[in-house]
């Protein structure tokens, strides 16, 4: 009997020693799926759902849960890296087909600084006859979207708020 690498092995073995060692080493060094969804839960504390591409049934279930949570009004908060620092963003949508969270693609701090740099609008005219030119309208800024794969993103689900 031969191993996948071509070496001859005995009949009661599945692979040679070097191939088995390589497989064990690969399994130990392979990055674990880091995608996790924590849900702040009443009874169980924090419920955790992990997303593993190797387990399609679990992945489909997790996708359905995320869609259902957004539909029910849960706030999903994801951790992102911005400028080497950990930041947080709220999920706007979820792409069930590709398993991706969709968030607004702008840094609120940078956006605020940009707004400041634009300068403040001139004061509105006090009387009708002061109007010589149409008042400047605030320019709507179209923000982009960023997609984050659920398998590598840490998210937290917060239930609908009842006020306080």
């Amino acid at each position: 009997m031969k191993c996948a690498c071509g070496k001859t092995i005995s009949g009661n073995k599945v692979a040679c020693r070097s191939c088995l060692d390589a497989q064990v080493k690969k399994a130990l060094t392979a990055p674990e799926p880091t995608g996790v969804l924590e849900i702040l839960n009443v009874a169980a504390g924090d419920v955790k759902l992990t997303f593993d591409k190797g387990n399609p049934i679990e992945t489909i279930r997790a996708k359905r849960i995320v869609v259902d949570m957004l539909r029910r009004g849960y706030a999903l908060v994801v951790e992102v890296e911005r400028g080497g620092k950990r930041a947080y963003e709220r999920v706007q949508e979820f792409d069930e087909k590709n398993g991706e969270y969709i968030i607004a693609d702008f840094d609120p701090v940078i956006a605020q600084e940009a707004d400041k740099a634009d300068g403040e609008l001139p004061p509105l005219p006090l009387r009708q006859h002061d109007i010589s030119a149409p008042a400047p309208q605030p320019v709507a800024k179209k923000g982009g979207r960023t997609r984050l794969p659920m398998e590598t993103t840490k998210a937290t689900g917060i239930g609908r708020s009842a006020g306080g």
């Binding site: 702040l40 908060v77 609120p108 937290t156 689900g157 609908r160 708020s161 306080g164």
Partner: protein, 254 residues
């Protein structure tokens, strides 16, 4: 695992046979069945809850275990049509509400009972029956992952920690079992530097809360986590969802 209704039925058939853990497990099972991923709130005897109306059993869970209100038949003499309320205000000095009334004989005033936090404190202690100790420990572990070591040490030792929003430059004091305080050192409207001051106390509980307490349906640290994560991810949404209590109000927890 037995369903919630089965557990209740067993409790009615055999009084004393259902434990607190059985009820918790029953509610958790019901929540899972209905796809409520955050669970269902656990009611406490004699305490009224406010639950988001979209939750299943929101009305019944809010009122369950509460005593029936006493019936009283009103008489015609109970209402004096000639008496009208002229003014009402909160006295900071006396800590109570003062009211001026007018009737056929002239003016008179009344005042409410002194408002302090004693009742809220005691009722908050009562609401602790609805929480699971292990859940609180798990929530603290989660919080530890989200904040700095020093902030976590502050939280364990004092029940609160500070964090400044990079966006609004407002400082938040997140507190266990109390509304989040919002602090700012910005100059006032006239541009005068008046130092650090409290803007308001922000109160918000996911799922629900016990009326007239600082207790929510979630364990205390999960409430803190909800405030913290919403502040970081969507500050605007946090302010939109929170009730704003002035610093002098007993509800602010100051």
């Amino acid at each position: 695992m037995a369903s919630f209704t089965d557990t209740i039925r067993r409790g009615i058939r055999q009084p004393g046979s259902v434990s607190w853990n059985d009820l918790h497990a029953g509610l958790a099972h019901e929540a899972k069945k209905r796809g409520e991923w955050a669970g269902l709130p656990f009611p406490v005897k004699g305490m009224k809850m406010t639950i988001h109306p979209s939750y299943p059993f929101a009305d019944s869970l809010a009122e369950v275990f509460n005593p029936e209100p006493e019936l009283r038949v009103c008489k015609n003499t109970d209402v004096d049509e000639s008496t009208t309320l002229r003014n009402a205000w909160h006295s900071y000095r006396d800590g109570k509400e003062l009211r001026v009334w007018r009737d056929s004989k002239g003016f008179f005033f009344t005042h409410g009972s002194r408002q302090n936090q004693a009742a809220i404190l005691l009722d908050t202690l009562g609401a602790a029956r609805s929480w699971d100790f292990e859940s609180e420990l798990r929530a603290m572990e989660t919080l530890k992952r989200h904040i700095t070591d020093w902030a976590y040490q502050c939280y364990v030792m004092t029940g609160s920690f500070l964090e400044t929003s990079p966006r609004s430059q407002v400082t938040y004091m997140f507190r266990r079992l109390r509304p989040t305080l919002v602090l700012t050192s910005r100059p006032d409207r006239k541009g005068r530097d008046i130092g650090m001051r409290i803007l308001c106390a922000l109160c918000m509980h996911p799922i629900g809360f016990f009326d007239d307490t600082w207790a929510g349906a979630l364990v205390p640290t999960d409430d803190v986590l909800a405030h913290l994560l919403l502040m970081r991810a969507d500050e605007h949404l946090l302010w939109k969802q929170c009730n704003q209590h002035p610093a002098w109000a007993p509800e602010s927890g100051l």
